[in-house]
């Protein structure tokens, strides 16, 4: 049982991200790559994700302003975006990406626009939640490892 109250809070917050469907097992895979030599690996990957995918979001926004829609281009952008989102375990964002691609394939412009709005909401919500999580993780400090008593 975690004695440190901040650590307990962190664990609760982390659990809620999974229970509420924001994150999937891929996030755990990233956590397992974090160690003493790379203590901030997960945060670094997530930061890179938001920086990189922000450009793709902008590209999609601009593409949705051009009529008629180039569904092949939109699908290609979203393929990229979905790949990155999947790699960090962004479950809800990935689901909206999948739906968007289905609308691209069925040439449904309305569906694309509607789904894209929802995707941006999920994307922003996840960002806020992860920023809060990482801030709390920094405040909570590193996990104490077992050591022999002196």
């Amino acid at each position: 049982m975690e004695r440190n109250p901040m650590r307990r809070q962190l664990q609760t917050l982390r659990k809620s991200l999974f229970d509420q469907g924001y994150l999937d097992d891929q996030f755990v895979q990233l956590e397992e790559l974090q160690d003493d030599a790379n203590p901030n690996f997960v945060e670094e990957v997530v930061t890179l994700y938001y920086r990189d995918s922000g450009r793709i979001i902008l590209n999609i926004e601009q593409a949705l302003e051009r009529k008629p829609f180039d569904f092949n281009k939109l699908d290609a952008y979203m393929h990229q975006f979905k790949g990155s989102s999947s790699s960090i375990g962004a479950k809800k964002v990935k689901a909206e990406s999948t739906l968007f691609r289905e609308y691209c394939r069925s040439r449904n412009g309305e569906g694309c626009m509607r789904t894209f709005q929802q995707l941006k909401k999920e994307y922003a919500t996840l960002r806020r939640k992860l920023e809060a999580y990482f801030q709390l993780a920094r405040q909570a400090g590193p996990v104490e490892t077992a050591c022999r008593p002196k």
Binding site: Q26, Q29, L33, F41, L48, D52, S84, S86, I88
Partner: protein, 132 residues
């Protein structure tokens, strides 16, 4: 036993890998996965760079090849590498799930195919194939 790898002509017993992926996030994760297994690795951003690095004389024990990339995709890069006589383990990694697309990638000359996202257990299964 780790296969012999070469970097710039120097022999090393450490396994070596080339990550071929246009996605920055995936390159970072694949680099870390390989690092964790003690595999020296470099990354390039498309199939043409993968071919070029081999033309420069470098070889790798393992190539993690993404499918969809600009300039030259993974299918074409795999074909060219095999035509050049490159016998390294080439593992395709992609988010594609359609059988036809995966088959085309495999027929280009892959030794293995894994669906993204790549995990430690998937990478270990690839590495075990190298070690036999």
């Amino acid at each position: 036993m780790a296969a012999q790898g070469r970097h710039g002509g120097q022999e090393s017993n450490k396994m070596t890998a080339l990550v071929v992926d246009d996605n920055t996030v995936n390159r970072m994760i694949h680099h870390r996965l390989l690092d964790n297994l003690g595999i020296e690795n470099v990354a390039v951003v498309n199939g043409k760079e993968a071919v070029d690095i081999h033309c420069s004389g470098k070889t790798f024990d393992l190539i993690l090849m993404d499918m969809d990339m600009p300039v030259m995709n993974g299918i074409e890069a795999t074909r060219q590498l095999r035509e050049m006589g490159i016998r390294s383990m080439i593992a395709g990694v992609s988010t594609r799930s359609m059988e036809r697309e995966i088959r085309e990638f495999i027929e280009a000359g892959l030794d293995d195919y894994q669906e993204k996202p790549l995990t430690m257990s998937k990478l270990i299964s690839i590495v075990h194939k190298i070690n036999g």
